[in-house]
């Protein structure tokens, strides 16, 4: 009698558990996935990105990588994410001032480099996009970039046998949804981690690695004059500031003010990371400087000091010729060759 009741109770609990499980749409069909552990140096603060909502799997990352390099994500199948985000340029756009898009169109801002994204709270030069998973929506649908209608893209991918297979491997069913698409793109993008530069080796006191005298001098200048905004270990504090870059009437880009409708945000743009900076030219939100020495010159004597200029740079950053040279040498130690040549991040040729 008592045993029978126990069996019924257990069966009932099991039933409740199964019912409860089915409500989580994303995990309803648990695919046979292999979880992936991101390797990060110990010294870093915890990521902003919440992996609980998008646990990394080898299958998810593989799907994301294919999506990232697939020109089918654009209107006329001409432009992939990787078209503008090139690995050898730290996933920036080498030698291009502003982004390129479908049908020969151009955007009005420079392509940001992509790495260490899991510590970043908001995205784009004006911080207008508030989550990594939703970020690709902007370039995919922008008519000057990939120009693709999201609904049409979902249909296009659903009609492709390779994607049906890859979505099934990552998510358990062949169904393509925008949420799955975005989460897979994030899975790939969060693996773009760059902490293997010479600077990192020096800081970690790895045997046999030291700064040269010039690099050491540059590090000193950097610490005194640049590090409050370009704060290690990320070499940005992810804030949005007016650095005194002169306004260009032909671009009429008001920066953060476009997002907040607040005049106090006029001409404010995101502080970019200086990691891999020497391989990710051109510089500034509109890519107007092709050489880092032009950036030094701007801080030295070329600022436009409007109302919203940041207090930290309102008096400019005086730099002697020697300091500029040493700063260049130091910035060179922030280039992470392992990251730039990491085979797991490299471009895929997609033909179907």
């Amino acid at each position: 009698m008592f045993r029978k009741a126990t069996y019924i109770l257990i069966a009932f609990c099991l039933w409740l558990w199964i019912i409860g499980r089915d409500r989580h749409v994303l995990t309803a069909h648990s695919p046979a996935v292999e979880y992936y552990q991101l390797k990060l140096p110990d010294s870093l603060p915890p990521p902003v990105y919440d992996f609980k909502n998008n646990p990394l799997t080898k299958q998810g990352i593989a799907l994301g990588r294919r999506l990232f390099y697939d020109p089918k994500l654009s209107l006329d199948s001409s432009v992939s994410c990787g078209f503008c985000h090139q690995q050898f340029a730290a996933f920036g756009h080498f030698d291009h001032a502003v982004s390129h898009g479908v049908l020969g169109r151009t955007g009005n801002r420079s392509v940001p480099a992509l790495f260490n994204l899991i510590w970043q709270k908001d995205f784009m030069w004006d911080g207008g996009v508030n989550h990594l998973d939703i970020q690709p929506l902007t370039p995919i649908t922008d008519e000057n970039e990939m120009g693709m209608d999201l609904g049409a893209l979902i249909k296009r991918l659903q009609g492709n046998a390779t994607y049906r297979k890859l979505f099934k491997e990552a998510y358990g069913t062949e169904e393509v949804t925008s949420q799955r698409l975005f989460k897979a793109l994030s899975q790939f993008m969060v693996t773009m981690i760059s902490f293997e530069s010479k600077y990192d080796s020096v800081i970690r006191r790895e045997p046999g690695v030291t700064f040269t005298a010039e690099e050491q001098g540059g590090y000193r200048t950097f610490t005194q004059k640049c590090a409050s905004c370009h704060k290690p270990p990320f070499f940005t504090d992810y804030s949005i500031r007016n650095n005194g870059l002169p306004y260009l009437p032909s671009m009429n880009d008001v920066g953060r003010m476009r997002i907040t409708n607040n005049t106090a945000d006029y001409l404010k743009f995101k502080v970019p990371s200086l990691r891999n900076v020497l391989v990710s030219a051109p510089y500034m939100h509109d890519g107007r400087f092709f050489d880092i020495f032009q950036v030094f010159a701007m801080y030295n004597h070329g600022q436009q000091k409007g109302n919203t200029i940041d207090p930290l740079v309102k008096n400019g950053i005086p730099l002697t010729e020697k300091e500029k040279r040493q700063l260049y040498m130091f910035l060179n130690t922030l280039t992470d060759k392992k990251f730039l040549t990491n085979k797991e991040l490299s471009e895929l040729l997609i033909t179907d």
Binding site: A5, I8, H131, D133, L150, I154, T177, K183
Partner: protein, 241 residues
Amino acid sequence: MNRLLLLIFLLMGTGTAAQQVQLEISHVLASQPMQLQTAVYTNAAGDTFNITLFKYYLSNFSLIAADGRKTALQPAWFLVSEDNAASKKILLPQCPEGEYTQLSFMIGVDSVLNFSGPQDGVLDPLHGMFWTWNSGYIMAKLEGTSPSSRLPNHMLQFHIGGYRAPHVTQRMVTLTLPSPLLTGPQYKPRVMLQADAMIWFNGDYKISFRQMAGFMTPGTPADRIADNYQHMFSVKKIVSQ
């Protein structure tokens, strides 16, 4: 033993019993029914206009009893669109048995969902109700044309959104029901709601299309239009079957 079985059946019963309330929404402009493209309306500023698109989110439904006790229904989001008849019928499932005198809900999508990455269902960004360049939901959208508009093609484009202070556009609506709403297994109530889109322009904050034929960012005009449309709903009647 039998008591245990009974308990289990009771538990199952409460989980699945269809205690539903059906909302049926109709759209009007003042006294005229809404008709996309063809009908011509006139706002208080004297501008004539037509409407080509009208859609908005509803969420956070609650039922309120005569003693003021508020019962929040399970979280659900609905995208109501004039061009989609099915979307104008909202089924509120699992309404606890009782007698209610007021209905309340939000026009818009909770702030947290505006910065939590891509959602699915009606909140999927592919419905065109999510801003790409300035993340966040468009809580309500009205488009059309007016000869008074100075925008290209004389268009009207009001995309109302914003979830970050000071420009917050979610609005709570509380409607007093004309007769008590009874819920329970034996009832299948239908609540007939009407939304008057004219209030977008003729509310406390008057809009003349000559001065403003569109607004598509978070900002003060969006806040004021949301203040206006907070009052667009009324309950026409309750039908109990």
